[in-house]
Amino acid sequence: MPKDNASDHGGIGASPKRREDIRFLSGTGKYTDDINLRGQAYVHFLRSDIAHGKINSLDLSEAEQMPGVLRIFTGADFKDAGSIPCGWQVTDRFGNPMQEPRHPVLCETHVRHVGDPYAAIVAETREQARDAAEAIIADIEELPAVVDMAEALEDGATKVHEDLTSNLCFDWGFVEENKQAVDDAIKNAAHVTTVELINNRLVPNAMEPRVAIGDYNRGTGEHTLYTTSQNPHVIRLLMGAFVLNIPEHKLRVVAPDVGGGFGSKIYHYAEEAFCTYAAKALNRPVKWTCTRSEAFLSDAQARDHVTKIELALDKDNNFTAVRTDTLANMGAYLSTFAPSIPTWLHGTLMAGNYKTPLVYVNVRAVFTNTVAVDAYRGAGRPEATYQLERVIDQAARELGVDPIALRRQNFVTEFPYQTPVAVEYDSGDFNRLMDKLEAKADLGGFAARRKESEKNGKLRGVGINCFIEACGIAPSNLVGQLGARAGLYESATVRVNATGGITVMTGSHSHGQGHETVFPQVVADMIGIDASMIEIEHGDTANTPMGMGTYGSRSIAVGGSAMVRATEKIIAKAKKIAAHIMEASDGDIELKDGKFTVAGTDKSLAWGDVTLAAYVPHNYPLDEVEPGLEETAFYDPNNFTYPSGAYACEVEVDPETGKVTIERFTTADDFGNVVNPMIVDGQVHGGLTQGIGQALMENCSYDADGQLLSASYMDYCMPRADDVPFFVVDHSDGTPCTHNPLGVKGCGEAGAIGSTPTVVNAVIDALQSGGHDVPHIDMPVTPSRVWAAMQQG
């Protein structure tokens, strides 16, 4: 939907190239590890190499004498510090709060997963710190580890936290009042399809590993933390208020260029608190740079659900009820948003695109001796979509009906639509998406392509998937009732300079999304000036208004809306100034193409004339408005946004080796209005690639003792360019969001949400076509798993 003036101003609907790429691609970006402060020391964290143990003693005497060592910290140094906080409290089925263990900065009495840090050595150099770590004599008594969630819930299982009553964090039911009705509907159904599946655990693997630098100015008493974060204000609040007791006006958090996050850099991590604390204790800047090996053992991991889903249908194949039973792995501690992922970001999406009247979701969250699990691209919504779309595909097969027809028959077709799982979809058109998909994917030509594959000795399958997701989680007063310990608004300050250029300070944070290109397009469009006149500032609490950061595909929908509101205030004030100068009334002033005119006259003023007047207020309505042109807005949406999509994937399976190759992948997405189509294409490509990675390759696997088996790229398989096809993506002509000023929905996670069931459905279809009665294979659908399944069925 390019607008008329898009090409003129690089405004909404245009696809200017990403301006941030100039510095990223020319080596002039400034990442946290590029920051080196005078006199900085280095910390090395000594991490547990066993999954569970009791710390009997730590003998530091030899290590403390090692060259370059400044100080060695242990849990005892943080006994007065708070626990690394959890930002969301879930209330269980019975009205009780979740069990919430203490998460110390450094382990105090126990180590609880491989990688849990129990000592921190600060030295003049990194290598000296590491040398000293090897000289620490740790007497840690190994305890039995709990890794498997079902075993963790058994009576008498070893407890991850001995002060909790069990390893059950919470037992959540949603919607609890529907439970009996759902049970009855399933009992009385004409047909029930059941699928048991695992949503495999992932390691997020942002390209840039985490880095933290603590700095302290003893002259002013101010702390600064430089960190690889998606939300510096949230880190400032969590770390300052809950862990280190530093008031926010004495704490600055800077997240400069950040090389990818995918969720893993939302959370407040112990290493950040450590560096901030140690910088004051030592009166030296303290830097930590995570190695890739450490990232595998310390970045919050993802997914890890074990689920049974049942879909009930009546005799006419209408969906009558969905019931799910999920074990969700929390790992050893509660990461910042962990409890919200398998609950409010998962259960609320279990109606999917369908008018199923009854849904009941049960989730038991479990502590295990593994790295903590939290949000990762999609966060709860991929888990919901995967199980729902797998069970629908299986139902179609069992009933002998076309999987697209079965979906169409059950689509929600009228909006707004109140689901039985609390949320109300504001807009969408699922049939139109499916129409587009069928055409773009050339599903009519599939039979011929299958024949061709078979001629080459390959099995070919097609998988279909529909999804709806929820982005821009809000409003704050609702999420507060659901257990969020934070607001979910976003902020923007629009600062117009005297000569007309604009700096926008946003609480959103860009770590790959392209905000510096996209956000100016919106402001340029509103004022009618060139996008090159607008600059975006983000990532520094010292110069941006309190914001909640970037995750959950919220930036354009929430942050962009805040920027629109602030720009509206700017325009309203500028019109007052223009009216005064042109001796007209405010209501007669029009702003178009960067020019103020008085309706019905030939009087006009350029944008720059008015902005200059604001700062040189000689001829100025001083009795009406203040000088200057700078406005701030906080935007709190009144609902989620609901992007939706329909995806198709064609795979070939080599029946001799079980190897799956993705031959075609087509998407039809509804993101509402789109600001920069090129950047949206890229977001979809990236999301699809991550979803294909989860479906076919990525597998974070622990052995029974809690040792991570896939602890490096030698065993943890990331998708590479030659693993994915050229994607055909379409997001034109979406149904605008009805409740934000831009009509936008968010596009960052859709690809990762929609792709996993599409791929697995396609693999199952291929195997079925080869006469293999294989109903399901758990992800990742590796060659060896496919081959093994073919031997069985």
Binding site: T657, M697, D715, T782, S784, W787, A788
Partner: protein, 262 residues
């Protein structure tokens, strides 16, 4: 990584002398050793880089018609330069990525004898002779199990000599993450018989599949392999494949190598 000294000899003699130092270790392209050092899993006091020894680099044909490859020759150089030995060029071209191929060396890979590496399959499958600063060792005697060879400490692989076959090919099924061989087969047809070497599969490292060699010796074609299989017993089982899967792939990849042989 722990601190170490590095020596860069320019002749084999200088290298031998350097390697006689206490806790010295030879360094080829460093594709295994450097990551090991970074993990602090090895602590040599001296690293002796072998890639600056001109006499150990390059590809030539000797008077007997053997293809001679210097120990310090990179995979990339073999991929580009072994045009008279199709299977060998094919094998080298599929190791790692361009960065690995431009650094990693034949000698380093043979000496390391990783059970999933490609070079051991090529050397064993071609019946190569491994030449060191002290002696010549037949490939059949050189590889002695996972990460184990007949090489003595401080002994340098200066060269390997490969009989050039009539037809050959290398078929690799990649372990998805590392792209090392999950199972790969090197097949070479000589006038005197066929050799088949399998890497990636066995807990004992690279091995010859003698039944396949005999069958292919009688009739060099994919049909000769019908009904032949290796037992899962002794095959590697890990995240990426069970012993049964690997045993199955031995048959598949051998047949594919035969089909691709040229």
């Amino acid at each position: 990584m722990y601190a170490f000294e590095i020596e860069r000899p320019e002749t084999v003699e200088e290298a031998i002398k350097a390697l006689s130092r206490d806790e010295a270790q030879p360094l080829g392209g460093g594709q295994t050793l450097i990551p090991t050092l970074k993990q602090r899993l090895a602590m040599p006091s001296v690293l002796v880089s072998l890639t600056g020894i001109a006499a150990m680099r390059g590809i030539c044909t000797d008077d007997a018609g053997l293809l001679c490859i210097g120990g310090g020759t990179t995979h990339g150089e073999v991929a580009a330069g072994a045009d008279k030995f199709a299977g060998l060029a094919m094998m080298a071209a599929k190791i790692g990525d361009p960065a690995v191929r431009n650094r990693g060396t034949m000698g380093g890979s043979l000496a390391n004898n990783d059970p999933s590496a490609c070079w051991p399959a090529a050397a064993l499958g071609a019946g190569a002779t491994i030449v060191t600063d002290k002696r010549e060792i037949a490939a059949d005697d050189f590889f002695q199990g996972m990460f184990d060879t007949a090489r003595d400490e401080g002994e340098i692989i200066t060269e390997a000599k490969f009989p050039v076959p009539e037809k050959s090919a290398y078929a690799k099924f990649e372990q998805p993450a590392s792209r090392f061989a999950l199972v790969a087969a090197f097949v070479a047809k000589y006038s005197g018989g066929v050799r088949v070497a399998i890497t990636g599969a066995s807990e004992s490292g690279v091995f010859r599949w003698t039944e396949a060699e005999e069958a292919l010796g009688r009739d060099f074609g994919p049909g000769a392999l019908d009904g032949l299989h290796v037992e899962p017993d002794g095959m590697i089982g890990d995240l990426h494949g069970t012993p049964e899967y690997r045993a199955h792939l031995v048959g598949v990849m051998t047949r594919r190598a035969v089909e691709a042989a040229r």
